[in-house]
Symmetry: C2
Subunit: 272 residues, 2 copies
Amino acid sequence: MRKPISNTPPDERSTGNRLKISSSRPLRGDSQHNAATHGHTMYQGRLHGALAHRLGVDILRGTFKSGEILPNEIESSSKLAISRSAYREAIRILAAKGMVESRPKTGTRVTERERWNLLDPEVLGWMFETEPSQDFIKALFELRLITEPAAAELAAIRRSDEQVEQMRAALEIMKRDTLQTETGRRADLEFHHALIQATSNEALASLSSSIEAAVSWTTRYKARHNALTRDPVPDHERVFEAIERRDAGGARWCMESLIRMAHEDTQKTFHP
Amino acid sequence: MRKPISNTPPDERSTGNRLKISSSRPLRGDSQHNAATHGHTMYQGRLHGALAHRLGVDILRGTFKSGEILPNEIESSSKLAISRSAYREAIRILAAKGMVESRPKTGTRVTERERWNLLDPEVLGWMFETEPSQDFIKALFELRLITEPAAAELAAIRRSDEQVEQMRAALEIMKRDTLQTETGRRADLEFHHALIQATSNEALASLSSSIEAAVSWTTRYKARHNALTRDPVPDHERVFEAIERRDAGGARWCMESLIRMAHEDTQKTFHP
DNA sequence: GCTTTTTTTATTGTCTGACTAATGCCCAGG
DNA sequence: CCTGGGCATTAGTCAGACAATAAAAAAAGC
């Protein structure tokens, strides 16, 4: 059993600053009735990771605004009932993603949004935890519309036969299971992963895999809330066939249309 | 003065594992003669940041290979003569960038290269610390060739008058100071920054600013080692003029040619 | 002999409380 | 008005302990 931690110090008056963490669910799962709390997935893992997650979401959501200074380490960690070490490690994670900046005397301040690594896979994941702004979704799909058709084009030119087979297999599973199921969504990711590998460009791959992963969150969301989306398989099939016959222009065009469709569906879901 | 830290424990035999950190320069600057060690810029800053930097470079360089397990925290930190906390914070930074993964009992292992956030600005910076592979440079410029012309196109359509003025001012400074000087390079970055802002797409902006920053390292490198590069100002001017007259197609085309030129120069510098 | 369960053990994870160092701010002196 | 030196505040580093986790090894069951 864990040693009982030093309780909240008696001098509640110290500063009037209330710690404004959004979710008041405890970081650690030591409450007795730990049944899954409805929709929200309880973060399972290390303490520093859980806290980074929570703070990250709060920053993205605007609960902590850019330029704002977080309460100091002692106060924050004791209010959260965790050690300074765990708190600091969480802050290091956020800092590594460009979201906060710490200096002695000044404290830890939230940086300007411009400096956040919005395309970091984890940040992107946090972004879709709460419904992201329509502007951001638009920006993201605009970026996909720039990179993915180009990627499809490169894939059509550089693909290996093995990669074609991987894509074919993934597509087969998608056809059978649809995106309503977990295996179907995994197959979707595998399809795109094989495509990305076929570009032989690891910078492009790094970018695409971040975005794909984030977008797949929206897919899961769509599957839950809106059964009326188009069947994505035909679109994928057209892309696949173009790549199989090494038709660069066709692959580009089909991918472009695939993304436009996905964007439409996503918009309908988030902002009907 | 800092308290003298516990020296290397006498039992040197403990495990045969030698800690293979590339640069044997000490992490902290407490050696008496702290004169700038020739080319390499001594990392100035927090201990955890310095260590993350060093380990990051070592991983990218291949000194630690994917799948390899780092020596445990106790051993590592004591060999480096730093505390476990500082060491752990460094590891958290690397983990946040997807480069390592820690689990109890197993230890901390370097993840597969596919999972590294290669487009993280810091990682990109570490990448250019040692001469990156020609493949990677090719990939990076290929990505630029996909995104930046599209960005220029969007900028031409969406730019505000104020942004045009910012670009004009930056260009003026570039014309006067060239990329040989620090102010000239800063102006170059400002030019691209204003352009990116003009796209009104924060996802694209996040990507571009990472890449721009990395590429500007190569610019500095080029300025030092190879005076024979083309004058970049005319290229920039053409892009600017196209954006000023809201000529989307022209902006795209001029940006494309600008990047091709930059790529040629870079290749000549790194792999003559 | 093979599978399943329990125990061991190595390693990261967390906690505590102290000290160090950087740096913004105020105030005295020019 | 500016300037430089203390002072106070905060992150940074340190040390050593114990807890939790998961892999590996041992024991139990079939």
